[in-house]
Amino acid sequence: MITVRDLRVVFGVGASAIEAVRSISFSVAEGESYGLVGESGSGKSTVLRAVCGLNPDWTGTVEVDGVAQGRHRDRAFYKRCQMVFQDPYGSLHPRHTVDGILAEPVAIHRLGDADRRIDRVLREVGLGPQFRFRFPHQLSGGQRQRVAIARALILEPRVLLLDEPTSALDVSVQAEILNLLRRLRADHGLTYVLVSHNLAVVSYMCDRLAVMNRGRVVEEMGVDELKRGAAREDYTLQLLRASQGYDRQAAESFRDYA
C-alpha cells in the first residue's frame, strides 16, 4: 500500500542544513499497521509529513496505493490518505463547530449527503448527535481527538497516518482512543502508519515497526519480537530497557547513540 524508498529530508540550506531524514526505506502492506518508533529528533514525524505531502521538500520515492507521489498531491490522494495529529487542542479550528469541521472535507470533495455522512461518522467514533454543534472549547481532550479521527474518516480513506495520537491525552482516555483506532482498522480494513515514542502503545497497535534514531532506521521488527524483547541493535535494547520503568543501574549504563 505504501512504499518509501531512499527518502531524504533536509531542513535549511548550506552550512546550517540539517538532515532530518537520511535515506530511509520501508513498505507497508494493505491492511497492515506499521509503527515508526523513536525519540525526539529521530525524524519519525518528518517521515509522516513527507509521505502525506505536508512537507514538499523531500527526495526519494513515495508510492501510495501504487501511485508515485510528487511534490504536490492531488485531491484523489487526499481521499485515499488522511492524518490524525498529535495535539487535540491544536488540530481543530477554534471557531468552527464540529459540524462545520466535518462538513468541510465533504464540501471540498463534493461528496454530497453531508448530513448523513456526519451523523454516521460521529456515531462510529462514539460521539452522539449532541456533540454535533459544539465548539472545540466545549469538548474534552478525548472528545476532540475523536472529532479529529472522525474528520480523517469522513472521506473514507484507505490509509491513516497517526502522529502520536494519544501522547497529549490523559492515561485513562488513551485506552479509549487506542481501542477505537483498533476497532476502526478492523471494521474498515484500514492501513495505519503510527508514529510514537511509546513502545507499549506501538506493541498494542502495530504489526510491524521500524525503530528510528537521528534520521535513520536502526532496525525493523515484527511486534512479536518487540514483545519478547528480541531486538538485535543496542539502541533498540536501550530503548526497551528505558520503557520498562526506572532502574538505576540500567540508567547509568545508557549512552548516546548519535
Binding site: 479550528h93 454543534f133 465548539f135
Partner: protein, 310 residues
C-alpha cells in the same frame, strides 16, 4: 467536561437564556448565537465598556433622529442672536452666525458617524485582505505587499491625508477617502502577524490535507481568527479617525461650511475662544466624549475577544 443530555426534561424555549447557554446545541444557529450571547455576557460585566457602549449608542441615536432631537435647523442664521451663552432658549449657546450650537452638534453627529462608519468599513477590510494574503502566501507576494504597506506607513497619517485631500480637492467624501487610505496599513500588519502564527497550526495542516484551496483556507480559516484583533484595533482607532477628520475640518479641507462638522466648528470658533468659549469648546467636548466612548468599548471588546490579554 462531562455531558449529560437529559432527554427526560423538556428542551428549553428557543432564544431563551438557557437555550443559548446550553452545553449541547442542536443547530449551527444555536451554537453561534450562544457564542455571541456568552461574549455579550462577558462584555456586559465590564462597567466601563458599558459606558463606552452607551456613548456609541447615543451617537447613533443622535445621528438617526437628528431632525427630531435638534430644536433648530443647523443652518438657520440669526445675526441678532450671535455668540449667545448657553441659556434656556439655546442650550449650548449660539455661534458667530447665530446658529444654535446644540442643533449643530446633533446634526454634526451624522457627519461624524458617516466618516467613522465609512472608514471602519473600508480600511480594515483592505488591511485584512492584504495582510492575510501576504502572510499566508509568503514569498515574493509577501515582500511586495509589505513594501507597499511600508511606504504608506512611512508617512505621518495627517500629512498623508492632507496630501490626498489636496490632490482630490476639499470635501467630506474626499476626506473619508484620504483617511481610509492612510489607515489600512496597521491592519495589514496585524492581520499578517496573526496569519503567520496561524499558518503553522495543525488545524490548517488538517484542512490542507483535505485538498482545500488557498482561498478557502484564507477566507474560511485564517480570516475568522484575525477578526477579533481587528475589531478591537478598529474600535480603538475610532478616536484617531474622528480626530483626523476633525483636524482636516479644522484646516478647512474636510467638510465644507455650512456643514456642522465638529472639527470645522472648532476652527470657526477659534477666534472667539477667550470670551465666547462655548463656540469652540463644546464641539471639542463632543469629540472628546465620542473618542472616549470608542476607546472604552474597544478596551472592553479586547478583554472579551482577544484571549492573549487576559
Amino acid at each position: 467536561m462531562t455531558t449529560t443530555d437529559d432527554r427526560l426534561s423538556p428542551p428549553p424555549a428557543r432564544f431563551s437564556r438557557e437555550w443559548l447557554l446550553t452545553d449541547t446545541p442542536r443547530s449551527r444557529l444555536q451554537a453561534r448565537l450562544g457564542r455571541v450571547y456568552a461574549g455579550w455576557l462577558s462584555l456586559s460585566r465590564n462597567r466601563l465598556a458599558m459606558v463606552g457602549l452607551a456613548i456609541v449608542v447615543l451617537l447613533v441615536v443622535l445621528a438617526a433622529f437628528a431632525p427630531l432631537i435638534a430644536p433648530y435647523s443647523p443652518y438657520d442664521q440669526n445675526l441678532l442672536e450671535r455668540l449667545q451663552p448657553p441659556s434656556a432658549a439655546h442650550w449650548l449657546g449660539t455661534d458667530e452666525l447665530g446658529r444654535d450650537i446644540f442643533s449643530r452638534i446633533v446634526h454634526g453627529s451624522r457627519l461624524t458617524l458617516y466618516i467613522v462608519a465609512l472608514v471602519a468599513l473600508t480600511a480594515p477590510l483592505a488591511g485584512l485582505a492584504v495582510g492575510t494574503i501576504s502572510g499566508y502566501v509568503g514569498g515574493w507576494v509577501d515582500a511586495v505587499l509589505m513594501r507597499v504597506t511600508d511606504i504608506f506607513l512611512a508617512f505621518p497619517k495627517l500629512i498623508l491625508a492632507l496630501a490626498f485631500v489636496a490632490a482630490l480637492g476639499p470635501g467630506i467624501e474626499n476626506a473619508v477617502i484620504a483617511i481610509a487610505i492612510t489607515s489600512w496599513p496597521p491592519y495589514a500588519r496585524i492581520a499578517r502577524a496573526e496569519t503567520i502564527t496561524i499558518r503553522s497550526s495543525d488545524f490548517i495542516n488538517a484542512v490542507r490535507l483535505q485538498g482545500a484551496s488557498r482561498a478557502r483556507i484564507i477566507l474560511g480559516h485564517v480570516v475568522p481568527l484575525c477578526t477579533s484583533s481587528l475589531i478591537v484595533r478598529v474600535t480603538l482607532d475610532m478616536a484617531g479617525i474622528i480626530l483626523t477628520a476633525a483636524g482636516l475640518g479644522f484646516l478647512g479641507l474636510g467638510a465644507q461650511p455650512p456643514l456642522p462638522e465638529w472639527g470645522a466648528m472648532i476652527a470657526a470658533g477659534r477666534q472667539y475662544l477667550l470670551e465666547q468659549w462655548w463656540v469652540a469648546t463644546i464641539p471639542g467636548i463632543a469629540i472628546f466624549i465620542v473618542s472616549l466612548g470608542f476607546n472604552l468599548l474597544g478596551d472592553g471588546l479586547r478583554d472579551v475577544l482577544d484571549p492573549k490579554s487576559s
